[in-house]
């Protein structure tokens, strides 16, 4: 067993070391969402009351879980984009010709991305009390658990794309065309209540909706102010767990079919 996990752990470890030595990456993944949050959150707080939320919920508070999820998404993207170049010419070629199964390469990469995303997500959790969100230990543990599942799923989604791409420009195009809209339509930016029914349906079919919901619900576990027609916490966790498994299988499959 140790022998099987050795390649996984070494690939994971490399992701962490690389990140530690390029700390500016921390800034790039966190800064943009933070600026979004402060500017858009403060700007809209004065004008909008998110529908389906209690009167006390300001827009900046509503927007907070979405921003944490955006940080997870950004980290997942930044952690996986290197695969594109390294696979064709560089470090990853040496890994590909080693006697290591593709599932373990993908697992190492995904765990690396997950760890980095979690690290940055937890950093953002420290901001929650500033906007009046109070949570106890059980809520904190559950929130972190949800973040782990979500980060793992998003990193694998990034890997599925990265293993297919021949250039990092292609990855950026996919990010703008697919990943950002998935995030916009996840209830991170606006609730589905009050949205036109076609849009509400799109949001219902979007797996990230359940990610944002699970995160939001676990964050408010102790205060229980969630209402509206949101999926339950249990159901949301079930959906994102499935998302997690499917994206991992998808990434492993993609990596197995790709050579150079």
């Amino acid at each position: 067993m140790v022998n099987v996990l050795l390649p996984v752990s070494t690939i994971w470890w490399r992701e962490i070391i690389r990140f530690y030595r390029q700390r500016s990456r921390l800034l790039s993944a966190i800064a943009q969402p933070l600026v979004f949050w402060i500017l858009i959150g403060s700007g809209l707080s004065a004008s909008f009351q998110p529908s389906g939320q209690s009167k006390e919920t300001t827009y900046i508070e509503y927007f907070y879980p979405g921003i944490v999820v955006l940080v997870l998404l950004f980290t997942a993207i930044f952690a996986t984009i290197s695969v594109v170049n390294e696979r064709r010419e560089g470090f990853l070629q040496g890994v590909l010709i080693a006697p290591v199964a593709r599932w373990s390469i993908v697992l190492g990469q995904a765990l690396g991305g997950t760890t980095l995303a979690l690290l940055q997500g937890v950093l953002l959790l420290f901001l929650a009390p500033l906007i009046g969100i109070r949570f106890g230990l059980s809520s904190l543990c559950l929130t972190i658990g949800v973040m782990v599942i979500l980060a793992f799923g998003l990193t694998n989604l990034g890997l599925i794309i990265a293993w297919r791409m021949d250039s990092s420009q292609g990855f950026h195009a996919i990010m703008n065309l697919i990943l950002i809209p998935i995030w916009l339509l996840s209830g991170a930016f606006f609730p589905s209540i009050g949205a036109p029914s076609w849009l509400a349906w799109v949001m219902k079919l979007n797996p990230l909706t359940y990610g944002v919901t699970a995160f939001r619900n676990s964050l408010y576990l102790d205060t229980a102010t969630i209402n509206g027609n949101m999926p339950t916490l249990g159901f949301s966790i079930l959906i994102i767990s499935l998302f997690c498994i499917l994206t991992y299988l998808g990434a492993t499959y993609t990596a197995s079919t790709k050579t150079v």
Binding site: T10, R18, Q22, F91, Q93, G94, L96, A98, P99, T259
Partner: protein
């Protein structure tokens, strides 16, 4: 397990373009086999197939008794590979790169540590072991790459253009390292190159041109194709001068770009006479014993570029 790489009727096509055309050759342990060819001759395609990164369109490859088509996992354990593009993580230190590689091959603990320090010593990079790779020069990086490829004690070492981007001194060091590896460790070394001097130092050379294996042999055997000297005349007017030479001297010639290629027994005498006869038409003249470049030109009718 046997001691050979056997390639039989290997063909690879990209769409309609044929990159490798029915190639066959054999390499044994202890040899340094060099695939020599200009850019686009199919070297890298052949390299990718041998290193298990790509499946060939047709043909058989047997590496030390394992069929490449069905036993690629077993083969991977036996291969040490140095790619043309740098394969080190520049953000990691030399030791970290080696340790990462060792873990992929299931080496760990004291065994791995011992093996790493052994190789650092062997390749003369012990004093740089804690530097990140981005701090190293090109020549040193190459040495780390080879040390990395040798870490799991492979039986076969494959190197794709190992000397590209290296200065003359580093290239010589590289050749010395490879020679001592072939002799002391009795491993099979197969490398691709477009540097003729590097091919000259190999045990045997296979010449590739447009996907075809033109010839295989030791550098001396190959040069025996050409008896006497080779004279290469550079001129501004190939047609007129070659015709004039043909009328005046009894030699056959080949035209290559703005060069006239001539083989003759007494090259130096011939050059003297030609230079005296056509003093204004000649830009430069090279005369000497046949080089691998001349052999390539003779066999393919193409200049080696």
């Amino acid at each position: 397990m046997n001691d050979k790489i056997t390639v039989e009727n290997l063909t690879h096509t990209y769409g309609t373009r044929c990159a490798l055309d029915n190639i066959s050759f054999t390499v044994s342990r202890g040899e340094i086999f060099c695939l020599l060819g200009p850019n686009g001759s199919g070297k890298t395609t052949l390299f990718k197939i041998l290193s298990t990164l790509m499946k060939p369109t047709s043909g058989n490859v047997d590496i030390l008794g394992f069929d490449l088509n069905t036993k690629s996992k077993a083969i991977r354990k036996l291969l040490g590979v140095v790619f043309q593009h740098p394969g080190l993580d520049i953000k990691l230190t030399v030791t970290e790169n080696l340790r990462h590689h060792g873990h992929l091959y299931r080496l760990k603990g004291k065994t791995l540590k011992h093996r790493i320090s052994e190789l650092l010593e062997q390749f003369g990079i012990s004093d740089r072991s804690h530097d990140t790779v981005e701090e190293l020069s090109g020549g040193l990086r190459r040495r780390v790459e080879i040390a990395k490829a040798m870490l799991h004690s492979p039986s076969v070492l494959l190197l794709d253009e190992p000397s590209s981007g290296l200065d003359v001194g580093s290239r010589r060091q590289l050749n010395d390292s490879l020679n001592s590896l072939a002799i002391t460790e009795n491993i099979l070394i197969l490398l691709t190159t477009h540097h003729l001097d590097e091919a000259d130092l190999s045990t045997r050379v296979g010449m590739l041109d447009s996907g075809r294996l033109v010839t295989v042999g030791t550098p001396d055997e190959l040069k025996d194709v050409i008896t006497g000297n080779v004279v290469l005349i550079e001129t501004t007017n190939v047609d007129t001068l070659s015709q004039a030479i043909a009328e005046r001297f009894e030699v056959s010639h080949t035209l290559i770009g703005n060069h006239i290629y001539i083989e003759c027994e007494q090259g130096h005498e011939f050059v003297k006479e030609v230079a005296a006869a056509f003093p204004n038409d000649i830009r430069s003249v090279r005369v000497g014993k046949a080089s691998l470049e001349d052999v390539f030109t003779k066999l393919t009718g193409n200049p080696f570029v």
